[in-house]
């Protein structure tokens, strides 16, 4: 299957050549040449004003079945009786989507003795909670979690199934999608609906955030996506804490699968987990020494936030890897991101672009961080940060 090219419409403008992320398009004489390696990503189709390029229509392996009636589901990730914030964020998003489709919202709660969490899920927007309790679900292991969610979804038929793109979600949700023989879009940052075709428009960054792609699951149900924590908003006004709890007995689960939980060997100790923080103060190479992170910790504490770092700072051994933000570290989406002594390598920017508001402090006015910052302070961080800390303290006293 290959890209459809109508030579008669082509104006040889070259826009598609520039747009191709894989470099397989080239203009050879009077004709566009499509080389080996096309992945049918559609980037060229998007930029072609002459409509000379098109993606082939895929013939599905199976016709689109009737719309399942289970509504929109959210996987209610919990650990040791505490819900992951992203589950509540996604219930908020599910409510908004459900209103457009006129369907109910349900949460799926897996664990061992977790029934007490149901009211919190109702308040966050769920009409219904599917609850499966089993000793094999006490701690997260891919196999039992995938088996449980696959079975519940197969039995009750959601139209859409969302989960947080946490380490847990990203580990087992793909197995659920494979088990249900349906599509899955990873790490979405926006959802919308095509109401006519009842399609969930799933938007996500690709190429390290350098381009965005909107993806659909046109032929199968449920339409599944994982969503980036911290991006979607919880309901501003909580719903009443009541609804239907559907207890599901899972015959298939046993504790003695091929993969078993042994124990937690290390908890990551942080004042506040980065992924959950609303304010992040992050430091880079410009901090020069490990001890200067102390200053960032002070500022973070005053702002009720967490401390992050660039790869350069982590590689220099100034701060542990758990604090690393960016392409090879964590992706964060705080309300406020303060970049201190960070030049703004593209890999780092990839991890912070969902932040609501970015402040950059750097002495190099040419630093790329200033291009993405809402406010950029050009100056010596060793003067500005202490002054900021002093200003906040002065006012609070």
């Amino acid at each position: 299957m290959s890209l459809i090219f109508s030579a008669d419409k082509c104006t040889l403008c070259g826009a598609c050549v520039d747009a191709c992320p894989f470099g397989v398009l080239s203009l050879e004489g009077e004709r566009l040449s499509i080389g080996e390696g096309c992945t049918l990503c559609g980037a060229c189709v998007e930029v072609c004003e002459a409509e000379a390029l098109a993606l082939p229509e895929a013939e599905g392996p199976s016709p689109r079945p009737g719309v399942p009636l289970g509504g929109i589901w959210v996987f209610a990730e919990q650990r040791q009786g505490r819900l992951a914030p992203v589950a509540l964020e996604l219930l908020g998003e599910a409510r908004r989507l459900a209103a457009e489709l006129s369907v109910p919202v349900a949460a799926v709660l897996l664990g061992d003795r977790v029934a007490h969490l149901a009211p919190e899920l109702f308040r966050a927007g769920a009409d219904k909670v599917y609850l499966a309790e089993h000793p094999a679900l006490a701690e997260f292991v891919e196999g039992p979690y995938a088996a449980a969610l696959t079975e519940i979804a197969a039995r009750f038929g959601p139209e859409i199934l969302l989960a947080g793109a946490t380490y847990v979600g990203r580990a087992f949700i793909p197995q659920v999608a494979a088990g249900l023989r349906t599509g899955l879009t990873a790490d979405c940052t926006a959802f919308a609906l095509d109401p006519e075709r009842r399609l969930l428009l799933q938007t996500r960054p690709a190429f390290g955030g350098n381009i965005m792609a909107t993806i659909i699951t046109p032929r199968t149900y449920p339409q599944m996506a994982t969503a980036r924590p911290g991006v979607f908003k919880r309901l501003a006004d909580p719903c009443p804490g009541e609804g239907e709890v559907v207890r599901v007995e899972l015959g298939s689960l046993t504790a003695a699968g091929p993969c078993t939980f042994v124990g937690t060997v290390e908890e990551i100790r942080e004042r506040l987990p980065l992924a959950e923080a609303e304010v992040i103060v992050a430091g880079g190479r410009g901090l020069k020494e490990a001890k200067h992170f102390r200053m960032l910790e002070d500022l973070a504490e005053l702002l009720g936030g967490a401390v992050g770092a660039t790869r350069a700072a982590v590689d220099a051994g100034w701060i542990p890897y758990a604090h690393q933000i960016g392409q090879t570290g964590k992706t964060v989406a705080p309300k406020l991101y303060i970049a201190v002594g960070i030049s703004g390598a593209i890999q780092h920017l990839a991890g912070i672009q969902s932040s609501d508001f970015i402040v950059a402090i750097n002495k190099d006015p040419e630093a790329p961080i200033f291009k993405v910052a809402d406010i950029g302070l050009v100056g010596d961080l060793f003067e500005i940060v202490p002054a900021l800390i002093a200003a906040i303290r002065r006012e609070r006293e």
Partner: protein, 262 residues
Amino acid sequence: MLKIIVCIKQVPETDKVRLDPETHTLIREGVQAIINPFDLYALEAGLRLKEAQGGQVTLLTMGPPQAEAALREALGYGADEARLLSDRAFAGADTWATALTLAQAVRKLGGADLIFTGKQAIDGDTAQVGPMLATILGIPYVAWARKLTWAGDGVLEVERLLDHGYDALRVRLPAVVSVVKEINEPRVPSFKAKMQAKKAVIPTWTLADLELDPHEVGLAGSFTQVVRVFPPPARGESEIWRGDPQELAARLWARLKELGRR
């Protein structure tokens, strides 16, 4: 003897792929095709396990014909053999269709004790192919391993990263394991292995070789479909402030309060 398969992907060096701020088109000048950096950790994990327990490491990739270069490079690290899955029909595959194609190749290889994948590919960042592959093959999947200990008798102990910290698991092989960067420091390639890799015969398996139906693979076999690609939303204009540090700090604090950020 352990049969180890390492799945790799050839990707564009994404830190060089960016959009022209003026024209919003992709600038790919000087963008090279490389082995997905996370896959080198998977390869190292496979090689170390082989060296410790005895076995064979087979590389697997699906991609266009030029993806052979990635396999050849990976052979330079000391893997024993490689297979390229390449066919026009595979183009446009989503993670499901990719996993399905890889699964068929694994079966054709006679299965494996362990299949290693990197954490994710840096172009798509999905981390979906590994777990889907495990489900299609009907074997366990363990994500984000940072430490592997051979417990003997076909059992592997895995320490893995989750949001809260590190958990230990025991998994009975065969299994698919994805590894994170912390697991090891990948070795440098060896000159002799590179020389051998240059001459190595890398079989290409096509749709027909894998005995798959064209409707199952590539774009046709994909459950998801890309409908639009566009540049990330531009932020508002940056404000650049200069001047006395004390004044800058005071001004910033005033603005943060005004924004209600705190």
